[in-house]
Symmetry: C2
Subunit: 317 residues, 2 copies
DNA sequence: TAAAACATGACAACTATTGGCATGATTAAA
DNA sequence: TTTAATCATGCCAATAGTTGTCATGTTTTA
């Protein structure tokens, strides 16, 4: 076992060092240069992408990035990795795409027949679907890099009012429903805004300035405390209950009676009114809003607006 | 290198066989029993969970599942695996949860300081968010197993009309927006329906009957051919364009003028009318429906219904 | 009690690895 | 042009590691 261990040690050493001479290795490991040559030949045979340059100032160069010591996985673990990769299948722009391919290949080759079959089955019966959008996110990788380095950014952003320039400190990125979002601190007024990465049209990286705010986890888990709290009370039919349970921002507030019907009794923010009016419009008689009056008014107003846009036809036929 | 190779061969052999005697290995590999004992000691030292039972009918037993030959990963590849696992972080019920944990641990231990830091950063700046629902999907693993075995199922399903029993042949499962869905062939009338796995309240597995229909990939990629096609024509303000581009089922149909405004000109199915009416209600003046008349009527009708539900208050104040 | 298994030690025979030396090829700088 | 630094490869004796055989124990079950 002594040689194998040595080989692994040297593998790790050289894959990290990238460029070196045989003499250096010999000195580091207290072995002869002749043996180093033999070892490197072995590693090369084992698949390490290494090449040598002849002559003065020559030496060996390893092409791959730093390599981890060999790891033993169980079949189940390999399947779990495939499963996780599967979950990203429907994203269009992804960092680490090439790496995931090479991992898949290495793993798949090592699997035995049955396990290969299991993976194949898995991939044909499980998916993590999200709308495979026509929208591309070409700047995702750049944004990601900037975020990991905690840089501040100047971005060109496409919003309602056209393309504007913004100076921001990103908090992180997250994917949701097939799109990538980036909450960031707007440095001009110290407010946190949410950007869609596909709407970023240009990036310029400023020097890192380490203005620590919150991290992404915190941001995602904030239970946005309503700044202008308004009580919401809605009576639900059983179908209304079913539908509202599928609305992330409301599901926790749904109370269910034994007969299947139920109600919502919670506090929402002023800003959510508009969003909710759209929901309760859709639900119609399955959700009767009792409070707040503002929401009822909003729904009514919407209804009137629409009736104005779509007037009674002259020839109804 | 000869011994290491042997050891790996034996490792794979025994991890697959699980229970065996030293003599069996000796015969299989044409080596002496004494050497087998020595090898097994080596494997045990290397971390293979193996134990021996003494006495007649004794022998060795390997505790882990089948093990893959050692694999070399680059740091980048390890990071890619973490990244993929990250994407599943917001799911509540997942198969392979324990395996993913053990993989993470093995990988993380092998990483060097810098790479560890990189992974840590990654996890605090990237997320794949989906509504971390209160809804649990306890039967997911069972459903999954049934699907992989291509079994037919009798399920207790909670639908609009209460809990009913259905005899189905699942096509697959997929996750979307934090919930798990299962398209399946309803055997009573040969139609394909979509079930929500969290609404399955009970499962009974029938014998596999291999009634091949379509696979999940096909199902997801079907561009549901409209059975009752209706032309849809909508004029959009620039804000309307922006919003409709975020609607998966419409985005491909949005045409943009140079001034930012645009229009939708496509064919939809009769069944999608109701869904669209809700969308275009929300957009109000940002999206003016010109065709079909049925959709306009639906929006008007909705508006009237709501006005009936929420009548003009007696004291408007 | 005998048989079937693991556990471990000793040792000679065998095999693989190592280091040292020699030779050659290639390259860049003196 | 020469020299020094480097990889590449072959040979061989010294050294180190591995193997098989035999011996001796222990544990468990028929």
């Amino acid at each position: 076992m002594t040689k194998a261990k040595r080989l692994i040690d040297i593998l790790l050493f050289v894959s990290k060092k990238k460029k070196f001479t045989a003499q250096e290795i010999a000195d580091s490991f207290h072995i002869s240069v002749r043996t180093v040559h033999r070892y490197l030949l072995d590693l090369s045979d084992m698949g390490l992408p290494i090449y040598a340059e002849q002559g003065r100032h020559g030496g060996y160069t390893v092409l791959s990035n730093a390599i981890l010591p060999p790891i033993l996985f169980t079949e189940e673990e390999a399947v779990a990795i495939f499963f996780a990769f599967q979950s990203l299948h429907y994203y269009r722009d992804l960092p680490f795409n090439t790496e995931m391919k090479s991992v898949s290949q290495k793993l798949y080759e090592s699997l035995q027949k049955e396990a290969k079959k299991k993976v194949d089955t898995l991939q044909s019966y499980i998916a993590f679907w999200n709308p495979k959008r026509a929208i591309t996110t070409p700047l995702l990788t750049d944004v990601l890099e900037a975020i990991i380095n905690q840089s501040q950014l100047h971005i060109q952003y496409e919003s309602k009012s056209g393309i504007t320039s913004k100076h921001i400190q990103p908090i992180g990125v997250y994917a949701h429903d097939g799109l990538w979002y980036m909450p960031a601190l707007l440095l001009s007024n110290e407010r946190i805004l949410l950007f869609r990465v596909d709407r970023i049209k240009g990036i310029k990286i400023s020097e890192a300035n380490h203005k620590t705010t919150m991290n992404l986890q915190q941001w995602l888990e904030t239970d946005y405390e309503p700044q202008q709290p308004i009580p919401l009370y809605v009576e639900l039919s059983s179908e209304g209950v079913r539908q509202c349970l599928s609305e992330p921002h409301l599901e926790k507030a749904v109370v269910r009676h034994s007969d299947g019907t139920g109600y919502i009794d919670t506090i929402i923010d002023q800003h959510e009114l508009h969003f909710n009016s759209s929901l309760f419009f859709r639900l119609g008689q399955h959700a009767i809003v009792k409070e707040p009056y503002a929401l009822i008014q909003l729904i009514r107003q919407h209804a009137y607006e629409l009736l104005a846009i779509y007037p009674e036809p002259i020839e109804p036929l």
